[in-house]
Amino acid sequence: MMGAIFILEMKKNLQDKGLLFWMVILPIIFTYLFIEIFTSGADDMAKQEIITSIVPGYTVMFVFFIMISMVTSFIKDRDSGMTARIASAPIKPKFYLLGKWLPYIVIVCVQIFILFGFGKVVYDINLEQPILLTSLSIILAYMVTGLGLLLALSVKTENMGIALTQVIALGGALISGLWVPIDMMPNMLQKTAEFLPQYWAHQALQDTMHGTLAYKDFFMASGVLLAYGTSGFLLAVIRYGSFLKVARS
């Protein structure tokens, strides 16, 4: 039963051309433009350092835009009566949520693969610890979609979801050092960044590229990301009752 929801959600997303733009084309354009801007006049070593920061930084920022698709999907189902109709079937809420959630994890994993692939092909970035990088990518996808699930079940309107996604994605990017290197930021912001998942994801991804991510740091970063993602899912399960109450039928 969960598989049916997974397949349906996957089909819907594959038909969505907007998703391709937000998740792949736009990040590639941004990454390319900002690398061009920041590396102009830089020597080879500095250039490599900037690229190693921008590629994972913009990847982390743009994975958050999956939240828009998640919000749109849930709100559409809620308002069309689909949520209520599915609730009348013998499927437990947690499996319904898992069925809706898993496709987005797959999509974000593919997105990360494409964006790093772009970095490798165009800028020949280092990917020194591919296994840890892959693991972190999956955990990052889990985290961001877990939060997306919570957001989708909490907002009243699609516009509210889009606005909040932008606050989370852009605000988080700014504070977590995805745009500007974290050590150039004020002390207070550096401390604040440690509470945000974007910071942990960015730092860990950068370290895997350099090949300097220790297992201790990997587990620390993974723990933070898994905690965010799991909290998102559990709170979404709790929110489901209220979400169903306002669902049309």
């Binding site: 039963m1 069309s80 009566g81 209520a84 009348s88 079937a89 039928s249």
Partner: protein, 305 residues
């Protein structure tokens, strides 16, 4: 298998949507649930379909197979809940899988349902290309995939053409022959008269009356004789029924319509050309509702008579 709805109450904030509703719906019945918009019909249906879970009271299915209530129910919501960008058959597969159908069973059941709803030749077309009536039929088809014993239909004919309406009525009659219990919510009285064996009138969250359609008509609605002529009515009619002016003539509410008609015919015997119209007006459920509530029910708009 009987569905027992026992003292079901539901509140939305301070508003009581349902006030201790009790119903017994026997197997194989087409049970009409009639009331104006906001009366509590949809809330009651959502409770029966286990969409609303926080309510007081009990909904029980007395069945020997001990199956889960949800597995026995097919729910046809008022909205068209279909994936518009997918084909008719993909939609049927989706809902079939939700109820555990798979493999060859799923495929053959989808083909059967497509035939039942008259969309076999449009199986692979996207739903967004369908007319409103076709979407309504597919909406019902999705609820039939798992062969439910109870089919809940919430205003299934809203906004469709007469042809599709007839098609849906035929489907419902076929389902009745297969002993499927149907709970049919509507505010179209004539649909209930045409389809339902039993009916419950619901208003302001309460069941104001319930029973067999024929019994209610007999109990609450008196047949009338309509007469339109160019002469005054004979005086002796006053003793035979209540007379009210109606559309350039008179309605005589009476159970003794044969004596009334004979009296009128005798009255016009010498000048039959002056009798323009004489007919029996059969009672309708609308009249029962008016008798019970003192108000009319038309497309959800209520106005005092």
């Amino acid at each position: 298998m009987v569905l027992h709805i026992n003292r079901v109450k539901k509140e939305y904030g301070n508003k009581e949507a349902l006030k201790s509703v009790s119903l017994v719906i026997p197997k194989g019945t087409c049970y009409g649930l009639v009331g104006p918009n906001g009366a509590g019909k949809s809330t009651l249906l959502k409770i029966i379909a286990s969409i609303i879970l926080d309510y007081d009271g009990k909904v029980r299915l007395m069945n020997p197979s001990n199956q889960n209530l949800k597995e026995q129910i097919g729910y046809v919501p008022q909205e068209i809940c279909l994936e518009q960008n997918l084909s008719a058959i993909s939609n049927l597969y989706f809902f079939g899988k939700l109820y555990g159908l798979k493999g060859q069973e799923l495929k053959s059941r989808a083909m059967e349902v497509l035939k039942e709803i008259g969309l076999s030749d449009r199986a692979k077309d996207k739903v967004k290309q369908f007319s409103g009536g076709m979407k309504r039929r597919l909406n019902i088809g999705c609820a039939l995939m798992h062969r439910p014993n109870i089919l809940i239909m919430d205003e299934p004919t809203v906004g469709i053409d007469p042809q599709s309406r007839r098609y849906i009525f035929e489907m419902i009659k076929q389902l009745q022959q297969q002993e499927c219990t149907i709970i049919y919510a509507t505010h179209y009285m004539e649909e209930v008269e045409q389809l339902c064996d039993e009916v419950a009138f619901i208003d302001h969250g309460e069941i104001i009356e319930q029973g067999r359609v024929d019994d209610l008509l007999q109990r609450y609605a008196i047949p009338s004789v309509f007469v339109k002529g160019m002469k005054e009515l004979p005086e002796q009619l006053i003793t035979l029924g209540d007379i009210t002016p109606h559309k350039d003539g008179h309605l005589i509410a009476t159970n003794q319509f044969i004596p009334v008609m004979e009296t009128i015919l005798q009255h016009y015997q010498e000048e039959s050309d002056k009798l323009l119209r004489l007919e029996i007006v059969r009672p309708r459920l609308e009249d029962v509702f008016i008798t019970l509530t003192g108000s009319e029910l038309r497309d959800g708009q209520r106005g005092h008579v």
